[in-house]
């Protein structure tokens, strides 16, 4: 067996799973003493080019409350044609179609390399994907033009059979009818009136024509002839819609001096949700909301139209001074839940210089698996390329999006599911493997993820329920099965099953095993998700305190030290980076709201709880590369000491890509050396980070903000706020002269943090 590093990597590549512990403590008591819970990051639709889906349905355990899927961990009696469920130990006969199996003729799902396997199940006719554009028209002319172009462009990217619809809003909400010829027709709703789904359908004339889809049964398109007035196959209305978008005007209602435009985002969304709810329940659909400012009227209003009242800040929220906050949040949550029930996801593309109400609206995307993209203007490449990337395709030419996912987690008896954190809603399925102890979205072992991408990652938290004095569970391994049902972008229904197992270890005797099985990266992200989840509902300081305590306890548990001797403190290699992650996490915008608007915080948090491990780690601790004449580009410490005059730095924080030219470099650049033939090497040096940045830009969704700055540049703040302030204006002269640039901050540096941590860890009083 290779190192744990390799094991972990292999597991992630194969199953998209990373556990915090790869040896599981065998009892509840020990598990709690480990501080970091047994938990994992799971990427349900991890791209597996090497995994061809099988064309049949999974074999399920016949026990009604188990229904686990046949997997490589099951014991199989080839002669009797019987298999034993490894979760409930039920013995099941194989179905008749498996009559021919033997040791040498095994179905894929029994082979160990197929611990993750994908089935294609086809029930009924394929249902087309639905894209419903909800477009704010209260934009600047330039923005609107750019947005129109992006939307027109997107039509060519949609699958030709996809249904597309258009809702525009400003002071009013207009649902455009796409089928009509001649006069362009739209249904108009008042932007201030909260309408029930039934009212909306009545007003759109949808009630008396076609019968509504039965519960759980998607409507076939023929049934939905009436709805086609608003949702038409792209190939049919391509031209029509392009023209319609082309003629789209800015909201014509005059905006008096000192007022914000009246923007009925709430009603627009309610109409969109109501339209889809009535016409296509349980069908994959994306509502794509494009906004250029905050909702200013009607239900879901975030700020009034008076410009003199600014939109709420964290300060207002803490002072309980944001009068629309609770009501709006509640409104959008209700909408999001309705939408989630029907399997429709909502994307928000917010491009505005000021806040646009993402704090209130983020639940729309968070609960339905939609995207949130935040930019300054629709007329930026950030938006344009990000939007384009929504429609990117995978190696098979399929869209990197899946709909209506349902993730179910099954566990062996010693383990229970506490909850999940990610872009999901609970389906409230209370099976035997559901723990009473909730972490994240708990109380269920099934979650709905309305929209999935290959990188969508959920944090799933478990609890060991084995009693302390009970023996190590039978077989010595615990197993977890993830069953993900979803609608593939080619409209197939698929089921992906991942079954994994880990060994149990007795924490008293095998603590080293457990310690070395610690995946500190996964643990950091999982703990961070817990922290962010708490931060959504709790005050910032409480969360930080909780994080600190967890860290201290972990250090106490696994650190080697002499009591009350901080200098003696040592951590093993498998935990060595963990405190540093925590240090940066504490400083990150996910937990700190200072200097961030509520919208920004929401935006950052939204992305944090859905990205995979690598990206999440970048978010926690940005990566810093250094370019110089001294050698090839190298990753350097995220530390102020890395900021040197003769370096170019490239920092990737996931949301931003900062290229920072050191003082000398920037002077050279200003002097124009790079244009001189004899300084070709300087030109190359300048180019190198740009090329690397391009690469990152291409792979990333959403597009990061690209910042090219230099020593003393105003945008250098993006870099300076992230690096560890090892030198500050206070410490500058004590730290010698050879390195870096001081950061003007009162924040503690990593060094100070570590010192404190050691002190607390070794202290006997805590």
């Amino acid at each position: 067996m290779a190192t744990y590093q390799e094991f972990i990597q292999q597991n992630e590549d194969r199953d998209g799973v990373r556990f915090s512990w790869n040896f599981w403590p065998s009892s509840r008591l020990e598990a709690t003493r480990l501080v970091v819970p047994v938990s994992c990051l799971f990427t349900p639709l991890k791209e597996r080019p090497d995994l061809p889906p099988v064309q049949y349905e999974p074999v399920l355990c016949s026990r009604a409350n188990c229904k686990a899927v046949l997997n490589p961990l099951c014991q199989v009696d080839f002669r009797a044609k019987i298999w034993a469920c490894n979760f409930c130990f039920q013995r099941n006969p194989f179905p008749p179609s498996y009559a021919g199996i033997s040791e040498v003729n095994q179905p894929a799902e029994l082979m160990p390399q197929f611990s993750t396997i994908e089935y294609i199940v086809q029930h009924g006719p394929p249902t087309p994907l639905i894209f419903l554009y909800v477009v704010d028209t209260c934009l600047e002319e330039e923005d609107l033009q750019a947005l129109k172009e992006s939307l027109q462009m997107s039509l060519s990217l949609l699958p030709p059979n996809a249904l597309v619809g258009l809702i525009t809003f400003g002071r009013m909400v207009q649902v455009h009818e796409l089928s009509c010829e001649g006069i362009a027709k739209s249904y108009v709703f008042r932007g201030t009136k909260d309408l029930s789904s039934k009212q909306i359908q009545e007003m759109l004339g949808l009630t008396n024509s076609a019968p509504l889809g039965q519960q759980g049964r998607p409507l076939v398109p023929q049934d939905a002839a009436a709805f086609c007035r608003f949702l038409q196959p792209v190939h049919r209305v391509d031209m029509n819609l392009t023209d319609l978008l082309g003629e789209l005007q800015r909201d014509p209602w005059p905006v008096p001096q000192g007022k914000r435009p009246l923007r009925s985002t709430g009603v627009a969304l309610s109409v969109a949700v109501g339209l889809l709810e009535g016409s296509f329940p349980n069908t994959g659909a994306r509502v794509m909301l494009f906004i250029g400012g905050p909702p200013t009227q009607g239900p879901g209003m975030v700020v009034g139209d008076e410009l003199k009242t600014p939109i709420r800040s964290w300060h207002d929220i803490q002072k309980d001074n944001a009068r629309h906050l609770k009501k709006a949040t509640k409104y959008y949550e209700a909408l999001a839940n309705r939408s989630a029930v029907n399997g429709h996801s909502i994307d928000i593309y917010a491009c505005a210089l000021d806040q646009s109400g993402l704090l209130e609206m983020k639940c729309l995307s968070t609960l339905t698996g939609g995207h949130i993209v935040m930019g300054d203007s629709f007329n930026t490449s950030l938006f344009k390329q990000t939007f384009q990337r929504v429609f990117s395709k995978d190696y098979n030419g399929d869209f990197r999006m899946a709909f209506g996912g349902v993730l179910e987690v099954k566990t062996s008896r010693e383990l229970k599911v506490c909850g999940a954190i990610g872009p999901c809603v609970s389906l409230n399925s209370k099976g035997s493997c559901v723990s009473e102890n909730e972490m994240g979205v708990g109380g269920t072992n099934q979650w709905k993820v309305c929209s999935l991408t290959p990188s969508t990652t959920l944090g799933i938290y478990f609890e060991v329920v084995n009693q302390h004095n009970a023996p190590i569970p039978q077989g010595g391994r615990g197993a977890v099965q993830f069953v993900t049902q979803y609608q593939h972008s080619n409209t197939q229904r698929r089921i992906r099953v991942t079954t994994i197992a880990r060994n149990w270890a007795d924490a008293q005797t095998q603590i080293q095993h457990i310690e070395s099985s610690f995946d500190q990266e996964a643990a950091a992200v999982l703990m961070a998700r817990l922290g962010v989840f708490r931060a959504e509902s709790e005050e910032g300081p409480d969360v930080l305190r909780w994080l600190d305590r967890q860290l201290i306890r972990l250090c106490q548990k696994f650190g080697q030290f002499n009591k009350d001797d901080p200098a003696s403190f040592r951590l093993s290699e498998s935990l060595s980076l963990y405190p540093q992650f925590m240090f940066h996490l504490r400083r990150s915008p996910f937990l700190q709201v200072f200097n961030n608007s509520p919208d920004e915080s929401s935006y950052y948090r939204h992305h944090f709880v859905r990205q995979d491990l690598t990206q999440s780690l970048i978010m926690i601790q940005p990566i810093l590369y250094s370019y110089s004449f001294h050698g090839p580009p190298e990753p350097v410490l995220l530390d102020s000491s890395s900021i040197l005059p003769d370096r170019i730095l490239l920092m990737d924080t996931f949301f931003q890509l900062v290229i920072y030219h050191g003082e000398t470099i920037s002077q050279w650049r200003k002097a124009g050396y790079q244009k001189m033939a004899e300084y070709e090497n300087f030109k190359q040096l300048l180019q190198a980070p740009l090329d690397d940045a391009q690469e990152l830009l291409h792979a990333r969704f959403p597009m990061p903000r690209y910042i090219d700055t230099e020593h003393g540049g105003s945008q250098a703040r993006f870099l300076l706020s992230k690096v560890n302030p090892s030198q500050t204006h206070n410490s500058l002269y004590t730290w010698g002269q050879e390195t870096g640039s001081p950061i003007l901050t009162d924040d503690v540096s990593l060094q100070v943090f570590m010192d404190h941590l050691k002190k607390l860890a070794v202290s006997s009083s805590t």
Binding site: Q174, G182, I183, K185, S186, V188, F189, L195, G205, P252
Partner: protein, 1026 residues
């Protein structure tokens, strides 16, 4: 508003028990004897009058002037037959074309006319014994000949005057015969502008015999009324039988008919007035001047009083005291038509600007500068004619006075010398102190199944293309289009668009306008897009099966649109059916014929409360006028649907069972007229009066938020407001009384203006003066409106009784106070009111006033509401339709054939008559009409070949056809509404429809004939007098 203004005497609410009086007169019981002797003795001449009637009517009707003499001879003979009894020929009176009567009237209006009903028979006084000495040109002297024999009581004040009344007569004679004498006699009574001096044909009849006026304050009038009621209640407690019942019972025994020609005739009065004053110039420089009749053609020269086209009054001489007013019971009211259209030869109103400070107004009463302001103190100050407050003259307005105390610039300033003019309103007079935007027109078309199927939508869309070209404007944003069924469709027709855009609003509960820019557009700019839209609308809804409609949200949408555009304007709604779709203003069928003739009948006229009430307020607040074109195939609850139009200065048009072929042209004519009417928007009118009296009640298509401001979303050239006045205090004969009507409005171009109409009236403590200055046409306008309003709150029976009572009171009071003593059996009518009973009777036979289950509830409500906004001309015509004989007219002449009286007796079997009342038009064809006439008009060989439903005459190339068609089109042009021409053949079923317009006859459903009514009124008068 209260209903108090309706009649002075018994308020409606108190009237019930005693009001059996009306039936009493005609019913059985005590009435019998009356009829007994009414019909008895005259048996002797039963036949003669009949024969006499027939022939003269037929012959006389045809040839206006020449046959007069011949026509007279039979009469003369008739008279000769009963010389002893009828010293003066009764026929004189009613003959339509009789010139003697003309001449008699033209000679100077006799103060009164008296009908005598003696015990044995109805004895008609000898009218118009041809007084040759009449100054104005006698029309036909020939006619006078026969009448010279009777004692010349002149004056056409023809009474059968046995001895005693000589007292009454002699002054009259003298007055007409010697103007000087009359002058001298009147001068003490009528100070101020000397009437006679102007040569006005108003030789104020002499002071009546002292007997008449000597008892200054006899028993209080109200008291009398009370007695009257009680008295009637006694004999007739259990007589619920309606008035109409009586004539029926009368029909049984052969009746001795009174000679209908002998009773006052409207056609005659009209003709006389036309002859006397037609074509003349009326100079309005005299206080209390009684204008010619509405039917007379005259030209007005404004010299300080508003033209009668703008304001007419029930009387031009107010009683000095409230007591006097109460005593005579003549209502004091003005009918103001502020936007009346002027003929081309009259000067349009001058526009005056007083600069940035706005029009100069009295500081106290806020009256506007007008000719009644008296400049004093060398021109530095002026005294308000209304409140007598002395105001400083603003410096810029100062002008020296001449030796007469008049401003030197008197004739340079319209506001000092004219009765009517306009001020430019400053921003203070605008909403929110912002200049108004030009008004807009929105066309709202019901595209539900009914309208699509009938082809109406297509018709409208086609018509709009041409119609819009004719819009009276040269302004910016002004037309918008909406279609609707259960939901509303707004259209964006911005000129920049290649295609119109439709925006559907289904949220009918809270209506709003989905777009701003592009909804109201300049027609010229957006013509291509609008054409495109109008072409597409009929197709878009061609296969609709939506039959439910909404209504209130449609109006609401219009209001919201105007609100959004910050303008006023007009909605043209083309609607088919009762709004039954689930939305505000949803209506239910509440047509219940069982309610007819019960206490609850009023419910049928009352609009449903709630949504529409509020909507009216919203409309008026925004200046949104609603014109409703209804195309119902069944009951639509018009009372409610028309509530908003009738409060916003709008019009209601109704085309039952609309068919494009037969009604299309009629509807389009209405639409074209309506669109092109001159109109003012967002108007507020205020009527100010000089001290002593004030405006107390208002009738019209108006909305009143308080007791003084008359608000109208729009007011067009046919809308009139009737204003009733009450005394506050004693009026002064010397000072007279002034009224000033100020109308603040927005012109079609979006200018804010103030239109001022001033009128000065006389005051008198002599009732005779008042009666002399009465105007019947105005009176009946007032009575019609007040009665039509009263039926909202009271049973019809009461309203009818009150009408009759007040009529009797007015006439009795005259008889008692102004006429010379005469036999009680004589019916004496004031000259100015001599045809009043005809109108009153006709009014009581109008659909709203008739409790008949045969009549459609919607039609009744429609007529009720239409009348509320009518001016004097319209009510006159409505209540006394014009009946033109066409079969024997002079085709070469330009003049219309002289109308004949609206009675079946005037029709001839071989005749062709055209009847019109401003709302309906009939061409009546007698059974025996000569085929060549039919041929030349219809191009068919005989009456039998005539197609049933024809709505226009074929265009044939012969003089008669041309003439008839030109008469018809001339009339259509003249009237505010277009009329559908209905062709009826004598004895055909549709003739029933036609018959109901013969208002002098017994009503079709019920209602007395003119003659019966007159007798009844007379009886009432007698009872009052005793």
């Amino acid at each position: 508003m209260s209903q108090q203004g309706y009649v002075a005497a018994p308020p409606y609410s108190q009237a019930q028990p005693g009001m059996g009086g009306y039936q009493g007169g005609f019913g059985t019981g005590p009435a019998q004897p009356l009829y007994g002797h009414y019909g008895g003795p005259p048996q002797a001449f039963t036949t003669p009058p009949a024969g006499m009637l027939k022939s003269p009517a037929s012959s006389a009707a045809g040839m206006p002037p020449p046959p007069v003499s011949s026509q007279y001879s039979p009469n003369v003979q008739q008279n000769g037959a009963h010389p002893q009894r009828y010293p003066s020929p009764p026929a004189v009176y009613g003959q339509p074309t009789q010139s003697p009567y003309n001449s008699m009237a033209s000679r100077g209006p006799p103060p009164s006319q008296q009908l005598t009903n003696e015990m044995s028979a109805l004895n008609l006084g000898n009218y118009g014994p041809g007084p040759m000495q009449s100054p104005p040109p006698p029309i036909s002297s020939v006619a006078h000949q026969p009448f010279q024999t009777p004692p010349p009581p002149a004056m056409g004040q023809p009474q059968m005057l046995p001895g005693s009344q000589s007292l009454n007569m002699s002054p009259q004679m003298s007055s007409s015969q010697s103007p000087q004498a009359s002058m001298s006699m009147t001068s003490p009574q009528m100070p101020g502008p000397p009437m006679a001096g102007v040569g006005r044909p108003f030789p104020g009849p002499p002071p009546p015999g002292p007997g008449g006026f000597q008892q200054p304050g006899p028993p209080g009038y109200p008291q009398q009324a009370g007695q009257f009621g009680g008295h009637m209640a006694g004999p007739q407690p259990g007589m619920p039988g309606a008035f109409p019942g009586a004539p029926g019972s009368l029909a049984g025994p052969p009746q001795k008919k009174l000679d209908p020609d002998s009773i006052p005739s409207i056609t005659q009065v009209i003709e006389d007035d036309q002859a006397k004053q037609g074509g003349q110039v009326l100079t309005t420089n005299i206080r209390g001047q009684v204008p010619p009749l509405v039917t007379t053609d005259f030209t007005v020269q404004d010299q300080g009083n508003a033209s009668p086209r703008f304001i007419r009054c029930t009387t031009y001489c107010l009683p000095c005291t409230a007591d006097l007013g109460k005593q005579c019971q003549v209502p004091l009211a003005s009918i103001i038509k502020p936007f009346a259209s002027l003929p081309k030869n009259e000067t349009p109103l001058y526009v005056v600007s007083h600069g940035d400070t706005g029009p100069i107004r009295c500081n106290r009463c806020k009256a506007y500068m007008c000719p009644y302001m008296r400049f004093i103190d060398g021109g530095r100050r002026y005294q308000c004619g209304f409140c007598s407050c002395v105001n400083e003259v603003p410096v810029f307005y100062f002008q020296h006075l001449d030796h007469m105390g008049r401003r030197v610039d008197l004739y340079e300033r319209p506001e000092l010398s004219l009765g009517s003019y306009e001020f430019v309103a400053t921003l203070d007079y605008c909403k929110n102190n912002k200049p108004p935007n030009p008004p807009a027109y929105i066309f709202m078309i019901d595209v539900s199944y009914n309208n699509i199927k009938s082809g109406l939508v297509k018709l409208i869309c086609e018509e709009l293309k041409t119609l819009l070209e004719k819009l009276p404007r040269y302004t910016q944003e002004d037309v918008g289009f909406v279609t609707y069924n259960k939901v509303l469709h707004f259209y964006n027709v911005k000129s920049a668009l290649a295609q119109p855009q439709m925006m559907v609003v289904s949220d009918t509960a809270e209506m709003f306008v989905p777009l701003l820019d592009g909804f109201l557009v300049n027609y010229q700019d957006s013509r291509a897009v609008i054409y495109n839209l109008l072409d597409q609308i009929p197709d878009m809804f061609a296969d609709t099966n939506e039959s439910e409609t909404i209504f209130a949200p449609v109006i609401q949408a219009g209001v919201e649109a105007f609100k959004a555009a910050e303008c006023s304007g007009k909605l043209f709604i083309f609607h088919s059916s009762m709004p039954t779709a689930e939305a505000p203003g949803k209506l239910k069928n509440r047509d219940d014929k069982k309610l007819v003739n019960t206490e609850k009948e009023k419910i049928l006229f009352q609009p449903q409360k709630g949504v529409y009430e509020q909507l009216s307020k919203d409309c008026v607040a925004q200046g949104c006028c609603v014109d409703l074109f209804l195309f119902p195939s069944q009951y639509v609850d018009l009372a409610t649907m028309a509530d908003v139009p009738s409060h916003t200065g709008g019009s209601i048009y109704k085309y039952s069972n609309f068919q494009v072929e037969t009604d299309g042209e009629h509807f389009l004519r209405d639409l074209r007229k309506d669109v092109q009417k001159s109109i003012g928007f967002d108007a507020v009118m205020r009527v100010r009066t000089s001290t002593g009296f004030r405006a107390t009640d208002f009738f019209g298509a108006i909305h009143m938020n308080n007791t003084t401001d008359i608000e109208m979303a729009a007011v067009d050239c046919d809308k009139a407001v009737t204003v009733e006045f009450k005394h506050d205090d004693t009026l002064n004969e010397e000072n007279g009384a002034f009224l000033q009507c100020a109308l603040l409005y927005t012109t079609i171009n979006g200018q804010r203006r103030l239109r001022i109409h001033n009128l000065s009236l006389n005051c008198s403590s002599q009732l005779l003066e008042l009666y002399k200055s009465c105007e019947t046409d105005s009176l009946i306008n007032f009575f019609a409106k007040s009665a039509y309003r009263a039926i909202l709150n009271q049973p019809l029976k009461n309203v009818r009784e009150i009408l009759v009572n007040q009529t009797a009171h007015m006439l009795a009071c005259y008889r008692k106070n102004c006429a010379s003593p005469s036999a009680a059996s004589q019916l004496i009518l004031p000259d100015a009111m001599k045809v009043f009973p005809v109108y009153m009777n006709s009014l009581m036979k109008t659909a709203p006033m008739l409790g008949s289950t045969e009549l459609s509830t919607d039609d009744r409500a429609h007529q009720r509401l239409s009348v509320m906004a009518m001016g004097v001309e319209d009510t006159q015509l409505l209540l006394y339709p014009r009946l033109l004989p066409l079969h024997n007219m002079d085709v070469s002449s330009d003049i219309l054939p002289a109308p004949v009286r609206c009675s079946e007796e005037r029709l001839t079997d071989c005749g062709m008559f055209l009847l019109e009342n401003g709302h309906s038009m009939f061409l009546w064809l007698g059974q025996a009409i000569p085929p060549d006439l039919i041929q030349s008009i219809f191009n068919v060989p005989s009456l039998a070949h005539l197609q049933g439903d024809m709505c226009a005459l074929p265009e044939l190339d012969n003089v008669l056809s041309k003439k008839v068609r030109s008469i018809i089109s001339g009339l259509l042009d003249k009237r505010p509404n277009s009329m559908k021409l209905q062709i009826v053949r004598q004895k055909d079923k549709p003739e029933m429809l036609f018959r109901q317009f013969l208002v002098e006859d017994k009503g079709l459903y019920s209602g007395a004939s003119y003659m019966d009514f007159l007798c009844y009124v007379h009886r009432e008068i007698r009872q009052l007098l005793t």
